[in-house]
Amino acid sequence: MPGLTRRDTLLSGASALIGASAVPLIGARAADLDVPTADVPNPGFKPEAGASIRVLRPAKFVDPDETLFRANTKKFTETTGIPVRVDFVSWEDMRPQTAVTANTGAGPDIIVGFGSDPQIYADKLIPVNDLADYLAAKYGGWHQLALLYSRRWGTKDWLAIPMGGSGGASVYRVSWLKEAGYDSIPNDHAGFLAMCEKLNKAGHPVGFALGHAVGDGNGFADWLLWSFGAALTDPDGKVSLDSKETIAALNYAKELYPQMVGGTLSWNDASNNKAFAAGDISLTFNGVSIYYVAKNSPDPKLQAIAADINHQLPPFGLAMKPPQSSLVVNAMTFKHTQYPNACKEYLRFMMEAPQYAPWLAGCLGYWSNSLKAYGKMAFWDADPRLKPYIDSMDTPYYDSYQGPISAASSAVAANYTLVDMFASVATNNATPEAAVKQAARQAARYLKG
């Protein structure tokens, strides 16, 4: 097509992608592709002759996640002639399938896995320093959480390419906060508690999961812990939960609990979404899904709620950075692949702006960027409500903060050790001192005691 600039071509490509997948309108602003990049030479990976790639990744939660990922992959095949098969697997099945692949040395060449996986399978992965350094140089560097999860712990060796993270924020009803006299959520503990009391008095309680909810329960417990400066482990990975900061967090949970809607002790990961959509709560911590579902619903009642939703980072309390973590997804290339260069070239292609930008924008903040430059795209401004989800990965906090990331970190979260500690104190079923000792003992079953 003569007469077209590179930018125009990219534009039409991106809008074709977005149009084809019926992404909500605001996603279309991503077609601007306004990603600031540095001029860095392409590392020039030479795919092996006759290469083909198999990719395994977690199933979508929002439709564009899958449609745009597939479209980008198809584009790669059209450009390079390398066939790529992408399998989407339900979240619970990801870890067992990754374990089988790693242990048998057969199966997908690339697995986009969760959290601590690169650390667990470190010896079975192809180092990707060249690719990670190239992307960092071109796109303004990696966010802190990417550096923590994707490099071999304590070294600068890249085990995987962090593709993004799913972060949380305070989701609240603007009109109800206004009625209580607030334009935004106070950033300190005392102010936040006072606001929750006023909201509750007005018949609009807040709600946070205190039940066995893997994501939301652990997210709320981590916020309490980190916003008070407490931590599960010290930098050596030894359990350091039994501290005066944790006791302060527990006492705060006890005061906050009466301001919450009834029944949070049995909440699972879907409960706060349901309660918020039903108008039973005025504020909760969640990913973008509550807003996404309400906004794209044909139900006028949910549409009205969507118009009344806003997001803000969770109150910092004593923390310097957002006291919350993201669920990081990492693309790992396994040593058993016959086509390591083709895999690297595929990952490079997927992380470059013409592909990554529409994907990120189409997901409307469901995934947040691992590379800093992608936080400067215009679509984040098109809907100011999404702002708190930009740069969710710009935080030093992770499961089992401040110790090394390992299989043990996931074990503590999976056993709801911290959630149960806060739940038992909040409901007066244990004293803070007894609960923290019990939780420290439970955590020490997996971490160093």
Binding site: N103, G211, S266, A407
Partner: protein, 320 residues
């Protein structure tokens, strides 16, 4: 005559002598072994191997992703000091005992009602089986909605329709109410199995016994106590054994409704084993919890089978 007999004897040759294979197939031990092989193979592959692997894993520190090493009984000694494990053991026993008792009382009652002549008998019996037929995960989700703190139909009727209560009931919000709620759901699911099994047993009891008792002037209670119960015992013991096994190893109901919460008060051994092994990735520890269920299951089975159903028919005699 002699010659004929002699010829006959001479002509008769055992067929087995024709070939070695034929001889082999005439050997009874060989045939028995051969016929048992497919079954033995299936049992070995699908029962012995997983059980053996589970036992082995429980003696190692295997995690998801890392092949473990043999660590002896370390998993068990560490579980011995774990209050969450003992809480799960305790609740599993309580859950099994209470739910089984409930299922049998209500199941027997239902079976006796169904044993009468009713209009649409076959249809009603089919309906009764519904809770048992519906996949447990589906009915668990239905119960989860029924127990939901914000959207419970029970609360809705009590609060918004009948105005009997001011607040919604928090079924799963405290340890004891959560435990009882799960037991109720389990009883609901288990009644059909007991009722239909016992109904089959009731129908084998000859009506003439009841007629004879009637002529002798027996009361309803006496008929139940002296005729129904003794004659129902054989099937009762089998149903009880199966029911205890199903209840003890229950998983789906608890996992779908509470996941062991609030603060681990409703963990069954099966749910705790899964939580530690798969999401928690400690395969060795999870296997140790699963293996710990075996002695309890053995004891429960033996008690049910020999304690309740100690009848002569079990030793091969008539039941008098």
């Amino acid at each position: 005559m002699d010659a004929t007999t002699g010829e006959l004897i001479l002509n008769w040759k055992p067929r087995a002598q024709h070939s070695r294979i034929g001889k082999l197939f005439d050997s009874k031990p060989f045939l028995v072994t051969l016929c048992m092989l497919p079954t033995a193979g299936l049992l070995l592959i699908f029962l012995t191997y997983p059980l053996g692997l589970g036992l082995w894993l429980s003696l190692t520190d295997t995690t998801i992703g890392q092949p473990g090493e043999y660590i002896g009984l370390d998993n068990f000694t560490s579980l011995f000091d774990d209050p969450v494990f003992w809480g799960a053991v305790w609740y599993t026993i309580f859950y099994t005992a209470v739910a089984t008792a409930g299922k049998f009382l209500l199941g027997l009652w239902l079976a006796m009602l169904l044993n009468h002549h009713l209009p649409f008998k076959a249809f009603i019996r089919a309906i009764v089986l519904l809770p048992w037929i519906v996949p447990t995960v589906l009915s668990s989700i239905a119960w989860w909605w029924i127990y939901d703190p914000q959207f419970s139909i029970v609360s809705y009727i009590l609060v918004d329709v009948l105005h009997l209560r001011a607040h919604y009931i928090d079924f799963l919000g405290s340890p004891w109410s959560a435990r009882w709620s799960l037991i109720v759901a389990n009883i609901w699911r288990g009644i059909p199995f007991v009722a239909i099994t016992l109904l089959a047993g009731l129908q084998t009891i000859s009506p003439s016994l009841y007629e004879a008792a009637l002529l002798d002037g027996a009361t309803g209670w006496q008929k139940f106590r002296r005729i129904t119960v003794p004659l129902l015992m054989p099937i009762l013991s089998v149903a009880l054994t199966l029911s205890v096994l199903f209840t003890f190893s229950d998983f789906q109901l608890v996992y779908a409704i509470t996941r062991g919460g609030p603060f681990n008060s409703t963990h069954l051994m099966a749910t705790l084993a899964f939580q530690r092994a798969i999401p928690g990735s400690q395969l060795g520890e999870g296997a140790a919890i699963a293996v710990s269920m075996i002695p309890f299951l053995l004891i429960a089975t033996l008690v049910c089978f020999f304690g309740v159903g100690r009848r002569k028919w079990q030793q091969g005699s008539d039941n008098d």
